[in-house]
Symmetry: C3
Subunit: 141 residues, 3 copies
């Protein structure tokens, strides 16, 4: 069986945000899949998705600390600067983390490790709402 | 339904190149899929695939600026240097960006965001032609 | 057809390790799939999976050289330090490389490029055994 839905995640501050529940609850068809794969895809080039530690907020803050140092705003070697000093770094961070996640489905739920949560990675200062397309496929028998 | 094709992308200069149309047109079976997933997989370890901004060539040039600084050619801490100063950096860049993309299919087309395009990321100075395997799965009813 | 199995990879030293055969042999259902996709998913946030060069051990050693410089242990800008100086870097490396791989299946086997192998990327000093969920889907006709 196949199901596909596009949802809009509300605008969030630049940084890393846990959205596991929001994504999982957006696809009620999930509950009928015994074994399968969920594909979560962000329809933007300056925000991304990753899986990481779902407990300590410090981890998400430290992600910002590292990424903002690794890809600095307003670096003088960037030519694409028309949209602001945070724009080109946002594109690069988006590709380093990637636009999609694939998660196993087991018994009607995302089958994540104990400590894994879905991060929305907002790389712009004012990124606005973000659209995410979730595609489920699996065996419902 | 399932379909799988391997195509060869012509040799390109080191850097980042838009290949969305080339990939999409290589799989005519796409048009019969109502909802599904396209898997695009590069069969190499010194080139990669990513999704990013499909408009400004400056973005693709700035990708090179950043990646060539982050993983410098000929860094003195690399031991694997037999194949040239660009070889080991190419392997690392390939894993940072990843060998595959998964893209939602909707109504017979890749369902990308407005600004998203497929980049072939060529990390070698003389990488040669690159083989890409495209696997489609979906519901054609 | 769908199949899903969770395996445990034995504890390994911090670094990059080839596990292609171990993963492939864990899913005997693979042999009956003509065309499909294998999804390999690590259920942790301080280890990851990637595809890279399967021949020279120098490549895997150089991965450590680069990643340990790019995300240094005990960097003073990290706040999440309770679990040791290698913990927060492990989380970041895990997201840079990603928790999952998707690999084409052709004629009952992983369809990898000649030089591609699956790396288990252990980012902790003492990470312990790692659980990996492998989900296969494909056409067995």
């Amino acid at each position: 069986m196949w199901a596909q839905r596009t949802i809009t995640l509300q605008a969030r501050a630049r940084g890393f945000h846990l959205v596991t529940r929001e994504v999982e609850e957006a696809v009620p068809e999930l509950s009928s899949i015994r074994v399968g794969i969920a594909h979560v895809f962000i329809r933007h080039t300056s925000a991304s998705l990753t899986l990481n530690e779902n407990a300590s907020p410090d981890v998400r803050r430290d992600f910002s600390e590292w990424f903002d140092r690794a890809v600095p705003d307003g670096a003088d070697y960037f030519a694409h600067t028309l949209e602001g000093p945070d724009d080109m770094p946002a594109h690069i961070k988006a590709s380093l983390l990637g636009p999609s996640l694939t998660v196993p489905i087991a018994d009607g739920r995302f089958s994540l490790g104990t400590w894994q949560g879905i991060y929305l990675c907002e790389h712009r200062d004012h990124g606005g709402p973000r659209k995410v397309t979730i595609t489920l496929s699996g065996d419902s028998s």
